[in-house]
């Protein structure tokens, strides 16, 4: 791999991370957002990084701190923006076989409640499949659908709906 290629890959990862970071709803642990992104770039080249993730990285690594995956209306297709985060969490599961996660599937308020339970489960399954595709083990992952029952906001607007169509990654054992 020559230097140009390496740079391009790093740039691509940084861009995708930046794209994700914008949508992360969790409050950053510190305000030096620029530096964390740089730090995460190293961590995100998961297959080439020599170190393994430790539980502390869940709080500090900006890639692992992305715990929410967003979806389009009535869709369970994983958007490319979230591939980097999926890869980080898959690596975390590989690095820590004792770790366990719940994937909590959610839907916006449109459509009936029971149908949305199904939709939330589909989204959880899509994230589960992607994490497994990146080497995470099915035994480490549980999917729970909450449908539209656990909204993060209550407005009937596109903005609020887009924030509720999500899968939350919740580590039950770090």
């Amino acid at each position: 791999m020559n230097n140009t290629t390496r740079l391009m890959i790093a740039a691509a990862i940084a861009m995708s991370l930046a794209a994700c970071t914008k949508k992360v709803k969790e409050v950053p642990a510190d305000t030096t957002a620029g530096e964390t992104t740089t730090g995460a770039t190293t961590g995100a080249i998961t297959d080439t990084a020599p170190g393994k993730y430790s539980p502390a990285d869940l709080d500090t690594d900006s890639c692992l701190r992305q715990r929410v995956v967003y979806f389009d209306f009535d869709q369970d297709t994983l958007k490319p923006d979230f591939q980097a985060a999926i890869a980080c969490h898959a690596k975390y599961l590989r690095d820590r076989p004792e770790a366990r996660m719940n994937l909590e599937g959610n839907a916006d308020e449109r459509g009936t409640r029971e149908y949305n339970l199904g939709l939330g489960e589909r989204r959880g399954n899509a994230v589960s499949a992607a994490i497994q595709g990146n080497g995470g083990s099915a035994d480490q992952i549980s999917v729970i659908s909450y449908g539209e029952e656990r909204p993060t906001c209550a407005d009937s607007s596109e903005d609020c709906w887009s924030r509720n169509r999500r899968v939350e990654i919740v580590y039950t054992t770090r």
Partner: protein
């Protein structure tokens, strides 16, 4: 007292021209409604008078149906008859009343009360109905609902549904602090009882046909779980707690089986559980989302929601399994069917773009079926027929707040129902007729 507030909104016509919102008891604007005078029924016994104004319960019930317009007490003639022989029919005809109800409350030998009432046709001066109904201090509202049911049936030829209960879910707060309650109240919103309190979501209450039990979905164990709870004892059983979704319970008409949605096999499918043995029969087999099963009155057929053709639509399938047939062909999507007692009307939540409304597919007219949109939208859902199919309850949102409406099956009458506790009300389920 905690209760649901009821307000009445009358629609002048089904074309959507809406009159001003009116408080309960001031129903007007429906030209087809029948004028009826329910004269106050005094206590004529020798003990303590009951705390309930039975005639007021009857007046409010009849008004809420939208089929009647009861004369306010203030507009009644000064002479207040309590039995047929005392009625001055000319005085009531002058006030343009078609019907008059008179009555009184007396003591019974066992220390209770008895309401003795008579219904008269004012023009014909003839007695249509009259029965004594016994009651206790605590059950005098129920006596009023029973009398209202009898009057409704005598005049309209359709059994009344005032002596019924409704179940619903309330939610207060947003995020981790949300508190959920499953409640049951009388059809007029009074006598509210909390059935379950939970910090985790509750949804999809379903009545047993005898009105003694509720099936519902709770997340209090972490994942969705179906419970069946006895309303008298409060005792409850976990009937489904499999991996994945445990949702959308619906009692069969004989009360012995529970249709439900389970995704233990990988994606949501309809199952029927025999409640005595807990054995399961898988009804649907499709990679789409199959959910929201409800029984046709024959006890052999289920309606359910499926997105097997892309968007959610309502399908019909034998309860023992087999090939489903599509029922709904109008509208981008249709879901959560509710069926009238005679199986001729199917209510559903119909979606078009971001607009969701309650629509009825009416098959009462022989040959073809007819669609009728009952609600104005935008996020109307969870329709539930009254046991006499005269009205449907449904849930909607006003701003950020969940509220309920009741709408007559012809779309003319609407009642708004909000929680007095400032939270959301949702997931209404109209219970069966109560039995004496």
């Amino acid at each position: 007292m905690k209760r649901l507030l009821l307000m009445v909104l009358m629609l002048l016509s089904a074309s959507g021209l809406q009159a001003q919102g009116l408080d309960i008891g001031l129903v007007s604007g429906n030209e087809a409604s029948l004028p009826i005078a329910v004269v106050p029924m005094p206590y004529q016994g020798r003990n303590v008078a009951p705390g309930t104004d039975v005639s007021e319960v009857i007046r409010n019930d009849l008004n809420r149906s939208g089929q009647f317009r009861s004369l306010p007490v203030a507009n009644m003639p000064p002479a207040r008859p309590t039995r047929g022989s005392e009625i001055d029919f000319d005085a009531w005809r002058l006030r343009k009343q078609d019907f008059i109800v008179v009555g009184r409350i007396v003591d019974t030998a066992d220390g209770g009360y008895q309401v003795e009432y008579d219904l008269y046709d004012v023009a014909k001066r003839s007695r249509l109905l009259g029965l004594p109904i016994p009651g206790r201090e605590k059950s005098m509202r129920e006596v009023g609902h029973q009398i209202a049911d009898e009057i409704y049936e005598k005049i309209l030829g359709v059994r009344g549904a005032f002596w019924t209960r409704v179940a619903y879910v309330t939610a207060t707060g947003l995020g981790p602090g949300t508190r959920y309650m499953l409640k049951v109240a009388d059809s007029d919103g009074m006598n509210e009882q909390v059935i379950v309190r939970s910090p985790e979501p509750l949804l999809s209450p379903a009545w047993s046909p005898d009105g003694r039990k509720l099936a519902y979905v709770s997340f209090e164990r972490g994942n969705s779980t179906i419970y069946v709870q006895d309303l008298n004892t409060g005792g409850r059983d976990v009937v489904a707690s499999f991996k994945g979704i445990n949702g959308a319970p619906s009692f069969s008409p004989d009360g012995r089986r529970l249709a439900m949605t389970l995704s233990k096999g990988g994606n949501p499918e309809i199952y029927v559980m025999d409640l005595a043995s807990k054995s399961l029969t898988q009804v649907t087999r499709h990679y789409g989302i199959d959910t929201e099963a409800t029984w046709m009155p024959d006890g052999r057929t289920l309606l359910f929601t499926s997105d097997r053709a892309g968007k959610p639509q309502v399908y019909s399938v034998a309860a023992t399994g087999g090939e489903p047939t599509r029922v709904s062909f109008q509208g981008e999507s249709n879901a959560r069917a509710t069926v009238s007692f005679d199986g001729k009307k199917i209510g559903m939540a119909q979606g078009s773009g971001n607009i969701y409304r309650i629509a009825i597919l009416d098959k009462s007219f022989g040959g073809g079926s007819r669609w009728l949109t009952l609600s104005p939208g935008n996020l109307d859902e969870s329709p539930s027929f009254a046991p006499n199919a005269s009205m449907l309850l449904y849930a909607t949102k006003e701003g950020r707040r969940g509220v309920l409406y009741a709408v007559s099956a012809d779309g003319r009458v609407r009642l708004r129902i909000v929680s007095t506790e400032n939270g959301d009300v949702r997931e209404p389920a109209w219970g069966p007729f109560r039995q004496r």
